[in-house]
């Protein structure tokens, strides 16, 4: 923009005038600062000098004891144990290299710890203490204490370290703690000073992280007198912190241990829920890992082994894994149809082995078909065609609504990491998320728990408990905090027609107890503990028409990651439901062969509160079961600090 020189003159004059004005203000302000400085440093100097002399009192934070975690019977799941560590103050040590050298001749120091400590010393000013070695045993500590005069700047300290006595059993439920990292601090707005204590431990994942608020406690403080170089001369007084609250979980450690062992090295998950109050008695996910490794700082090799394992030991499959529920979903479809009054239990559907839907053939798992099927038979023999037909009559939106009432597709609020909500698709959902219209074939797929339908094992257990009781049972993990009982999850009656529920339960009873039921092989013969269940086998691949013509490849001939997931849900005793269980074996093959036997073993273990008598099993299974019981007993993992296990 062109301007004439005259205009320029006036604007520049304004600018100069205001610049001088602003400069003047700045000078005045600076003068004010100088006056203030004079006031503080010259006029009041004596007074402050005096305060400074007195100001030899330093406040040190004291870490509170973390709340401990117990199972429903008071067995320890997470505890604090005294742990000894050796710290060094570089300033006091003088020749740091020599002191460390002397020390390492006395006790073994992990070279990795040493490396980290040296790096830390380089980063922080020399008067700050640095941890040289952690988790030292008593013998080594006493050696250091005796030789203290020869080791300037070295002090033994006692602290508390977290241990998980049940090792891998609770890795997924409770998670683990670890030292606060810079990343953790960046996550928290205005972090508490306590988090800045070096190597202070906080919950990293799982329950430990989710209930950090209650477990952490409040920091204490001690006032110490220090000399001019910051060395502590004496302790003046101390205010102990408030320990974190002890927590009691609903889980039964013995049962959990059994389930975890029973799942073994399969990639699998099992959830046991108490039908009466929603207590989660066991939430297992296999394979698992030892959380104690993480507390001490896991080695790169160990960590890589965990992350590269195809069975994903770090994932908590019970609440975080979602799977197509397969045929275990059929109860929902049937219940929706019954509640809508669309069918009666006696009405039959003809199953020729497939159903033609919108020009596409939807096959029944049984190629030859089931013939005439009524509701009871459809569950017992898991006929797919019956449910294709039913679902088309009911419609997907009503099915999904029923699924949500039964606890699928909604997020149950549990204090665990990454609790998944699963998915119960609706027409609107597909439109919004996939930008496509809902197809009639999608409904057929959903009716047998395939397609978009996803549920976690925990949700399937909740569903089964709700079917068994007719109440909206909600899962509960925390039994009590600091001895105060937490509200249970018995739930209100859901207002479903009792006759309909009874029809379904009878169907599930037939699955396990009728000679032609899919779960008959894994029945319980103890009369007071009869089990009702439903198998599910969910595909992780599409079977093309060409493949079907050539004969579907058997599961065992497929590579592991393409095999079907095996599922089984169940409740027992039939007359008076106590527990509901859901088991999924990833890529395990058929639900009735891979999942049902696990459900039966776990159910008996839960009902008997320990190893069940062999009488409960059918005669021909008893030898095999005895061998299995003996094997599991032998392989029971060693526990840490067994003697001090109980609270």
């Amino acid at each position: 923009m062109r301007r004439n020189p005259k205009e320029l003159e006036t604007t520049n004059r304004t600018l100069s005038r205001r610049a001088l004005l602003l400069g003047g203000i700045q000078l005045v302000f600076a003068g004010g600062l100088a006056m203030r400085m004079r006031h503080l440093q010259v006029d009041q100097a004596d007074q402050f000098r005096l305060l400074a002399e007195e100001n030899r009192i330093n406040i040190r934070l004291l870490a509170p004891a973390r709340g401990e975690i117990f199972d429903r019977n008071g067995i320890a799941i997470a505890r604090n144990f005294p742990s000894y560590r050796i710290i060094i103050v570089p300033e006091d040590a003088g020749d740091v290299d020599k002191v460390i050298n002397d020390l390492s001749r006395l006790i073994d120091i992990d070279p990795k710890d040493l490396e980290r400590a040296i790096a830390e010393m380089r980063r922080s000013p020399p008067f700050l203490p640095v941890t040289l070695a952690d988790q030292i045993d008593w013998e080594d500590i006493s050696k250091v204490a005796v030789n203290a005069p020869a080791l300037p700047g070295i002090t033994p300290e006692v602290g508390l370290a977290r241990i998980y006595p049940r090792r891998a059993d609770f890795a997924h439920v409770v998670g683990y703690v670890g030292p606060v990292s810079d990343y953790d601090l960046s996550q928290i707005e205005d972090p508490e000073p306590i988090l800045r204590i070096p190597r202070f431990q906080i919950g990293k994942v799982g329950f430990e992280a989710k209930r950090e608020d209650v477990l952490r406690g409040k920091a204490g403080a001690k006032r110490v007198e220090v000399n001019a170089t910051g060395r502590v001369m004496r302790e003046l007084d101390r205010r102990d912190g408030v320990s974190g609250a002890d927590m009691q979980l609903t889980v039964d450690a013995e049962l959990q241990g059994y389930v975890q062992a029973r799942l073994g090295n399969e990639s699998a998950s099992a959830v046991v829920i108490d039908c009466e109050n929603g207590d989660l008695r066991a939430i297992a996910s296999a394979p698992s890992f030892d959380p104690n490794l993480f507390v001490r700082g896991i080695s790169v090799a160990d960590y890589r082994e965990l992350t590269e394992n195809t069975y994903r030991p770090l994932a908590n499959k019970s609440v975080q894994g979602t799977y197509p529920p397969g045929s275990t979903f059929k109860m929902i479809v049937a219940l929706a149809a019954l509640e809508e009054g669309i069918i009666g239990p006696e009405e039959t559907v003809w199953c020729p082995g497939y159903l033609e839907v919108a020009g596409r053939r939807f096959h029944c798992w049984k190629r030859g078909g089931h013939g005439n099927v009524d509701l009871n038979n459809s569950l017992k023999r898991s006929c797919d065609v019956y449910y294709y037909d039913l679902a088309l009559k009911v419609g997907i939106d009503k099915i999904s609504a029923m699924a949500q009432r039964m606890g699928l597709g909604i997020r149950h609020d549990l204090p665990m990491s990454a609790v998944a909500s699963g998915l119960t698709p609706t027409k609107e959902w597909k439109n919004r998320n996939r930008g496509e219209d809902w197809l009639i074939g999608d409904t057929a797929n959903a009716s047998i728990g395939q397609g978009y339908m996803l549920a976690s094992p925990m949700q399937l257990a909740v569903m089964t408990a709700r079917l068994a009781t007719g109440r909206s049972v909600t899962p509960r993990l925390i039994k009590s905090i600091d001895g105060i009982e937490q509200p249970g999850g018995a739930g209100e009656s859901m207002g479903l027609n009792e006759n309909n529920l009874r029809t379904l339960r009878r169907g599930m009873y037939s699955v396990s107890n009728d000679r032609r039921g899919t779960g008959y092989g894994s029945r319980i013969i103890e009369e007071t503990m009869r089990m009702a269940g439903k198998s599910g086998t969910s595909q992780v691949r599409n079977i093309t028409a060409a493949e079907r013509a050539a004969g579907v490849v058997r599961n065992s001939d497929l590579p592991w990651e393409r095999r079907d997931h095996a599922l089984f849900v169940s409740f027992a005793p039939f007359d008076n439901p106590k527990f509901a269980i859901a088991v999924i074996v990833e890529h395990g093959g058929g639900g009735s062969t891979a999942a049902a036997p696990i459900v039966r073993d776990v159910m008996l273990q839960a009902l008997y509160g320990g190893t069940p008598p062999l009488d409960a099993y059918p005669k021909k299974d008893r030898n095999r079961i005895r061998a299995q019981q003996e094997r599991l007993e032998r392989e029971r993992p060693e526990r840490m600090h067994e003697a001090s296990d109980r609270a």
Partner: protein
């Protein structure tokens, strides 16, 4: 095309430009930085690590950036102003976005060799943009409401983004520096009177709104104001810091305890003794003489800048130089007020002395602009 480019031929070219740099200003900047190195060395208990070494490296990089920017004609930077502003807004957005995804309350972007805080960058790009705006805007429109509203929006946009991070100190600096440039450009004084009036109203609202659903600040920010007004309310928290800071300062006396002899700042009474509270160490070890000397050097830098601004006839150049010197002034004025208990603790570092990469690099780059304006001034 501005007045300045007609005169481009009269400005020095090539390496001869080095001779025309404002060397006294550079000398002052280097001496302030050296004070910083000394203090960081002292705070670390007489050791080059962990703070002095990286700080020296960053200062070297910053000086290099300053020379580079100074060599490029000022009219190039004027043309870049809009782009630079947009870039810094985009970076602020990026921090905001990634912050919400999973990095928590984070204010920086990792460049590999250092962490850049976009909010620091914004302090300079905002000044550049406003200077370019008033260079472009015909004089008679300067005080028309619409043409006043636009720069106000340009100031408030980054201010609110920074406030959300939350970084109260930077947002105050942005508003004050932006307002300063508007004032220098000749916007009618009545607007400023109105804003100051509204400011008083806002402060009332902040206090009235406390505890209600529409409260304007975070709880901890209220606590900081509380403790500023009455340090005894939180003797172990922020009030403790102000008290300790004053004790350290006051015990320095007339000539201080001597280099590395300070006890108060050394005894871990103070947090951030290497960043925001570093002035306490200086004041304790070198006393009133040391503190006032640093203040004097700072003021000399500001005065040299004002002189440079008055010496150039180019409107953009003067506005940029004035804006940058004002920002610089705000940095040390707010920091010192805070340390001396005259202002709440808002987290503003002592420029070129406090440990920290972004502020140092951005300030030196800004002085690069001042140098460029000085070298390429119409003669």
């Amino acid at each position: 095309m501005s007045y300045l480019e007609y005169n481009a031929k009269t400005t020095p070219a090539g390496l001869r430009k080095v001779l025309f740099l404002n060397w006294p200003l550079i000398l002052l900047l280097v001496s302030v930085a050296c004070v910083g190195f000394l203090m960081l060395y002292s705070v670390a208990g007489g050791s080059a690590s962990p703070w002095v070494e990286p700080q020296v490296k960053r200062f070297g990089m910053g000086l290099f950036a300053m020379f580079f920017i100074a060599m490029v004609p000022i009219w190039f930077w004027r043309n870049m102003a809009v782009l630079a502003y947009m870039l810094s807004i985009a970076l602020l957005l990026a921090v905001e976005f990634f912050g919400s995804v999973g990095m928590g309350a984070q204010r920086w972007i990792d460049l590999g060799f250092m962490r850049l805080q976009p909010s620091e960058l914004t302090k300079i790009t905002l000044v550049m943009l406003l200077a370019a705006y008033y260079d472009w805007l015909p004089r008679e429109r300067t005080s028309r409401p619409m043409w006043v509203l636009l720069p106000v929006v340009l100031i408030l946009l980054p201010t609110f983004m920074v406030l959300r991070q939350p970084d109260l100190g930077t947002s105050i600096l942005l508003m004050a520096a932006g307002g300063g440039v508007m004032f220098l450009a000749g916007v009618h004084w009545a607007y400023f009177a109105a804003v100051i009036g509204a400011g008083v109203g806002l402060i009332t609202a902040v206090f009235q709104g406390r505890g209600t659903s529409w409260q304007l600040l975070k709880d901890y920010q209220y606590r900081r104001i509380d403790t500023f007004l009455d340090p005894s309310t939180d003797p172990l928290g922020a009030g403790y810091h102000i008290t300790q800071s004053k004790i350290a300062l006051g015990s320095g006396g007339w000539s201080g305890r001597g280099f590395m002899q300070g006890t108060q700042s050394r005894l871990n009474f103070l947090p951030e003794k290497h960043t925001d509270f570093i002035f306490t160490t200086l004041a304790e070890e070198f006393g009133f003489v040391g503190g006032v000397s640093l203040l004097g050097i700072y003021m000399l830098i500001v005065i040299f800048c004002i002189a440079a601004a008055l010496a150039t006839k180019d409107r953009f150049s003067s506005l940029v130089i004035m804006g940058i010197s004002l920002t610089f002034f705000l940095f040390f004025a707010v920091n010192m007020s805070m340390v001396m208990g005259l202002a709440p603790v808002v987290g503003v570092p002592l420029p070129l002395v406090s440990y920290g990469g972004s502020v140092m690099l951005v300030l030196l780059a800004a002085f690069g602009l001042v140098q460029s304006a000085h070298v390429h001034r119409p003669r």
